[in-house]
């Protein structure tokens, strides 16, 4: 899922100061799972902001709403009737949702309440780690299911580099060396022979480098 983290309160408050009516909109999917922008977080943020502004002598109306998703127009449409009663929409969705919100409500200021961080998974409650960088041409078949693009700090495709030590990456002792993990998996799968196959130069044009990307399925398009 997309993993995000709520922005510091001061930064959020700064982005919506001078507004009298704020609608905080949460999202029921990824940001709920990573506890950054779901219904609960919307409630807590709304309460915190109300107190923050009241402490400065301002009474701000802050309402709360959580949509199923903010990356599908049909859900964003649900607030059409109330949207322009507010001065600003504070969206706790990931960067995708914030932008879609802004597109759907063209003349309404939309502020992001979270920093969208990466594509990842829940290691345990409260801990989320990166697993995928959406490079657009997945190599997991040849690396035993461990991604060198997202989990290696140098995205070495023929690794490890010389900085791998005791299974950890040179940048941080708490970061696993992706290539140690790959080697361990290849051993477990009895595929160590694959290790010596030279991975070819990567086509980064399907990655961010190629520009904003698009996927189309002609067979399901209207």
């Amino acid at each position: 899922m997309i993993v995000a983290e709520q922005k510091p309160l001061e930064e959020i408050a700064e982005s919506v100061k001078d507004r009298d009516k704020i609608l905080i909109v949460g999202c029921n999917e990824c940001v709920t799972v990573c506890e950054a922008g779901g219904k609960k977080e919307v409630g807590v943020l709304a309460s915190a902001l109300r107190m923050y502004f009241r402490n400065q002598g301002k009474d701000v109306q802050i309402d709360e709403r959580t949509l199923e998703r903010q990356c599908d127009r049909e859900y964003l449409e649900e607030i059409r009737d109330i949207a322009d009663t507010y001065d600003v929409i504070l969206s706790l969705a990931c960067g995708v949702g914030v932008q879609f919100m802004a597109e759907m409500y063209h003349s309404m200021p939309v502020m992001p309440g979270v920093n969208t961080c990466f594509l990842g998974a829940t290691e345990e409650r409260g801990v989320w780690t990166e697993r995928c960088q959406a490079c657009g041409s997945c190599v997991l078949a040849s690396t035993g299911g461990v991604c060198p693009v997202s989990r290696c700090a140098k995205r070495v495709l023929n690794g490890p580099c010389g900085g791998s030590g005791k299974g950890k990456c040179e940048i941080n002792k708490e970061v696993d060396c992706a290539w140690q993990l790959i080697v361990d998996r290849l051993k477990a799968l009895d595929r160590m022979a694959d290790y010596e196959t030279l991975a070819p130069l990567k086509d980064w044009s399907t990655d961010r480098a190629g520009g904003p990307r698009k996927v189309v399925r002609e067979d399901v398009k209207a």
Partner: protein, 117 residues
């Protein structure tokens, strides 16, 4: 036991402090409370296993938020005792009241008064 404790303490009963949501704590301050304290079982003796640990975490989280918004995290805290300890209950009530008295009214109310004035 018919012990005395300060009259300004309003009690909200819950079957387990694990039922206390962080929003209950925050909304109390929004609605004019000067202080909120959560009283739960001794750690390790929760009747529902770990409810009081959840409460402890939520109280800590609320304290951080209250610090960030300028209300003050010391206004929310947790106490642990066993259900038979009546005198302790009264003692904590007095202690919390004294603490809040010292801190003064919640700044949220202060500003409202200033606005009215």
């Amino acid at each position: 036991m018919r012990l005395d404790y300060p009259t300004n303490v309003k009690i909200v009963r819950v079957p387990c402090t694990g039922k206390v949501d962080i929003l209950h704590l925050l909304h109390s301050f929004e609605k004019g409370a000067d202080g909120v304290y959560v009283v739960g079982c001794m750690e390790g003796e929760c009747h529902y296993n770990g409810g009081n640990f959840r409460a402890k975490k939520r109280v800590a989280q609320a304290a951080k938020i209250l610090d960030a918004v300028g209300v003050g995290g010391q206004r929310v805290r947790m106490y642990n005792l066993s259900s038979s300890e009546g005198p302790k209950f009264a003692e904590y009530a007095r202690e919390m009241t004294d603490l809040i008295r010292e801190l003064g009214p919640s700044p949220l109310k202060r500003d409202k008064k200033q606005q009215a004035a």
